[in-house]
């Protein structure tokens, strides 16, 4: 049995809490990075392609992942990849796709036709134009997608504990079985704080990515 209260638990179990927080963060960060690597280029492609059916096909597929309940998604992937870290990352990665994809698409879609036309007229190559002109303009949208996803995924990652992937969820699960209520609460608080801090930091980055000239519409 434990011999700490709701406050002292943070002192007594700090090493475990930090340990699991770190695992938690790694799962989230890897899932988000993978999400960005896939969803941002895909979003740019969808915004640029003139083939309508590809656009709706991909949006529909990605949307499906979004609608599968998280526990069910984990249960579907676990038999394939095992009850481990990998499964958790893959499931969360699939969740991250939609918000990032949607916002990247919206960001590129929002760019005035005139800006693209004048860039073309001045002799930008299409890649050059996308990277130097369009990406900076779409960045605030993309960053806001990343932020929203990150905050969601931090809480969903708690479920990763159920399949033994580690993270704060694992600690909560263990504490529950031991009736260690202070530890359950402490681990939940850690997840909450992580979400709040991430939200704050990413909001800051979002703001920095919105240049001075962009806020006011021309």
């Amino acid at each position: 049995m434990h011999d700490y209260g709701y406050f002292s638990v943070f002192i007594e179990r700090m090493p475990d809490l930090l340990d699991k927080l770190y695992e938690h963060l790694i799962i989230v960060v890897i899932a988000i990075i993978l999400g960005c690597i896939v969803a941002i280029p895909l979003g740019v492609y969808l915004a640029k392609t003139s083939i309508r059916w590809i656009r709706s096909l991909i949006f529909n597929i990605v949307n499906i992942f979004q609608t599968i309940p998280s526990l069910a998604l984990l249960a579907m992937i676990a038999p394939l990849l095992g009850y481990n870290f990998k499964t958790a990352v893959v499931a969360l990665f699939l969740y991250s796709l939609m918000p990032i994809l949607k916002n990247t698409f919206a960001g590129f879609d929002s760019i005035d036709e005139e800006i693209i036309e004048s860039a073309n007229g001045m002799g930008f190559g299409s890649m050059e134009r996308i990277i130097k002109v369009e990406l900076p303009l779409a960045l605030p949208y993309i960053m806001s997608g990343v932020r929203i996803t990150t905050v969601y995924i931090i809480s969903w990652a708690v479920l990763a504990g159920l399949i033994g992937a580690g993270g704060l969820g694992e600690l909560i699960l263990a504490a529950l079985s031991l009736n260690d209520n202070p530890l359950v609460i402490a681990a939940a608080v850690m997840a909450m704080v992580l979400a709040l801090i991430s939200d704050f930091v990413l909001r800051l980055i979002e703001k920095l990515s919105t240049r001075r000239g962009q806020t006011a519409k021309q």
Binding site: G121, M122, F124, Q218
Partner: protein, 378 residues
């Protein structure tokens, strides 16, 4: 020079936007493409920098077929200004103006110098404006930036698609005046799309009037006003404007046709004799092929008369201002008045002397033609 030969453009959806266009845009001139909305002006202009490619026919720049030039490279060599400016909102003014220099990998120092020079050209203080963002500028200022951005790497050709049409009338007039002033120095080949006849008449050297993908009439503003090809042109120009221009005399009708001239290598005695003989106080100096060189006055000649070694060319002054014979008389009179000139030399495009517009010739013309209606002309 930009040359269109039998150019047709059919869009992918089957719409025939241009039907057999033949057009030449001369070096150093402003060619205005004008016509009602949807007649194909923008399409025609975009064929020049290959934002569109022709379905058939050829477009050549300085004799070179553009289809053999890489489009990206071509576009970097051609200035481009569009109606809604198209400034990059996330870049400050300095970086916006430096866009093409950067694409062409100019070094920092050269780029910075050029940006400042360009800002000064349109009277925007570099210190104040370099670091501002487009959204912090007025519409007129933004469009000035749009124009100098197109001039950055000194392209010999500039394309402008209704560049001033989104501006309020006052800024529009200002920018038109600035463009005219700028063009006097830079002498670019400019293709200027507009749907505003006043604008075309004001700034263009040549006007191509379009309708339904065809050029209905091509010529100088003067030619179009005086000899509209058909009713469509007349209607487009507007009855009112036609009346004004067709009743207004040009310099050609008023000028003295055979001014008293002398060659530059002639002596002073001969000069004085000519002045006496023709009862004039100055002589126009021309070369053997009648190219205008300058003038000598009787005072200069008398002052140096004793010196036999001195020739006309040693005493010659050059003219600060010359006019062409198609200029409208009221404008010429105003110019004479502003410049306090007692006469203006009239030359053709290649600088050959055609005549002189003198105060005497103006008074003579008015007396003859208007008979008491003088105020109507001025």
């Amino acid at each position: 020079m930009i040359e269109f030969k039998n150019v047709k453009k059919k869009y992918d959806n089957g719409y025939e936007a241009l039907k057999n266009i033949n057009l030449e845009c001369s070096e150093g001139e402003i060619t205005a493409l004008i016509g009602p909305s949807g007649c194909g002006k923008t399409t025609l202009m975009k064929l020049i920098n290959r934002l569109h490619n022709p379905t058939s026919g050829t477009i050549t720049i300085a004799g070179k077929d553009t289809s053999s030039i890489d489009p990206i490279e071509l576009r970097r060599k051609i200035g481009y200004v569009i109606q809604h400016v198209g400034l990059f909102p996330h870049m400050n003014i300095g970086r916006n103006v430096a866009t093409v220099p950067k694409l062409l990998k100019w070094d920092k120092e050269r780029t910075r110098k050029r940006v400042d020079e360009l800002l000064e050209m349109v009277s925007l203080d570099p210190e104040t404006y370099r670091d501002r963002f487009p959204s912090e500028l007025s519409g007129g200022q933004q469009q000035r930036i749009g124009v100098i951005r197109a001039l950055a790497v000194e392209p010999s050709i500039i394309l402008m698609d209704e560049p001033f049409s989104a501006l309020d009338p006052i800024s529009r007039e200002q920018l038109q005046d600035e463009l005219i002033r700028l063009q006097r120095d830079i002498k670019k080949t400019i293709v200027f799309v507009t749907h505003d006849m006043d604008e075309a008449l004001k700034i263009a050297d040549k006007i191509a009037l379009m309708k339904d993908g065809e050029i209905v009439q091509y010529g100088s503003p003067e030619e179009i006003l005086r000899r509209p090809a058909n009713d469509f042109v007349k209607e487009f120009i507007g009855e009112k404007r036609l009346e004004v221009y067709q009743d207004t005399p040009t310099i050609r009708q008023v000028m003295v046709n055979n001014p008293v001239t002398i060659y530059p290598h002639r002596g002073l005695a001969e000069s004085l004799k000519r002045m006496e003989g023709k009862k004039v106080d100055s002589l126009i100096v021309v070369d053997e092929r009648d190219h205008l060189l300058g003038y000598v006055t009787v005072f200069d000649v008398l002052k140096e008369y004793d010196n036999e070694a001195i020739k006309v060319k040693d005493l010659m002054h050059s003219f600060e201002y010359k006019v062409e014979s198609h200029m409208l008389l009221p404008e010429a009179i105003q110019q004479m008045h502003e410049r306090k000139a007692s006469y203006l030399p009239v030359v053709d495009e290649s600088g050959v002397l055609e005549g002189l517009l003198t105060r005497g010739s103006i008074v003579g013309y008015i007396g003859k033609e208007y008979d008491g209606e003088v105020e109507g002309v001025l």
